[in-house]
C-alpha cells in the first residue's frame, strides 16, 4: 500500500512538474532538462543588446521571479525587441529555473 502511495505521489508530482517546466518546450525531460529553445520572434532587425530575467519553481509548491519580457528589455535598455529565447534547467521537475533572453535594440 505504501509503495503504491509513493508511486502515485511521484506520478502526480511529475504530471504537475510537466505542466510548468515542460509547458513551453517541445522536448520536456522528466529526469533532467538543460536546454535553450526559441520563444518568440518579431519582424524587427536582430538586436545587439541582451537582457535576461529568471524565474524559479520549487517542488511545484512555490514560483518566484519576474520573467516578463518588459523587465528583461528594461534591464538592457531595449526599446525594440527582435526575439526571445528561453533556457530551462530542471531536475526531476522538482526544481526548475527558467532564464529568458530578450534581444533587441
Amino acid at each position: 500500500m505504501k509503495k503504491h502511495l509513493i508511486v502515485f505521489a511521484a506520478v502526480v508530482a511529475l504530471a504537475l512538474g510537466l505542466s510548468s517546466c515542460g509547458a513551453i518546450t517541445d522536448a520536456p525531460g522528466v529526469i533532467f532538462m538543460g536546454h535553450t529553445h526559441p520563444m518568440a520572434v518579431t519582424s524587427n532587425k536582430v538586436g545587439t543588446k541582451v537582457g535576461t530575467v529568471t524565474t524559479m519553481n520549487l517542488f511545484n509548491l512555490a514560483t518566484w521571479g519576474d520573467g516578463s519580457v518588459n523587465k528583461a528589455a528594461k534591464m538592457a535598455g531595449i526599446t525594440k525587441i527582435s526575439h526571445v529565447d528561453v533556457k530551462t534547467f530542471s531536475v526531476l521537475t522538482l526544481f526548475c529555473k527558467k532564464t529568458y533572453y530578450v534581444y533587441g535594440e
Partner: protein, 174 residues
Amino acid sequence: MKRFFFLFVAVCLISSLYASSVEDKYIMKTFENGQLYFILPYDIPVQTSKAKALSADITYLTTSDSVTMNISVWTDRELATDSIALEGGERIVIKDFQTFFIEPEGKLWLHRYSLRYPLVCLTKLYAAESPFSMIIYTREQEMAYGYSSKVWSKERAWMNKILHTIDSNRRLYK
C-alpha cells in the same frame, strides 16, 4: 525510497557539473559582419560588508573595440551617482555612463547603469594577479565592490577563457 534518494542526489550532482562549464556563462551569436558575445549576469561582492552584491553582464560586438557593461546596484536608499571607476591593472574612470532606471525593490533601491569601456581594459583587469575593484562614487557615499584573493583565481579563470575565445574569433573578422 533509498534508491529514489540516491537517484535524486546523482541527478543533482550531474546537473551541477553541467551548470559549472564556461559555455554556460556566455552566449555567442553570429551577425553579418561579426559576432555578438553576451556574458551572462554574474555577481561582484561588496568589499567591506555583506550587503547585496553588484550584478554585472557584458555585451561585446566584434565590430567594436568597446564592451558594454550593464550593472545592477542595490542600496538602502536612492543615490545620485557621479562616476564609476574600475581599479586593477589600470584605472578607468567612467563619467558618461547611462542610467537605465532607479526603482524600489523590496526594502532596497535598484540602480541599473550601462557603461562602455575598451575591451583591452577589461582584458587587463582580468589578467592582473590581484583582484580589481569597482567603485561607485555618489554624492552621499562611495561603494566598493571586488573579489577576495581567495576566489579571484577561479573568477578570472572562466572570464579569461571567454576573453580568449573572443580574441580568437575577432581575428576571423579583421
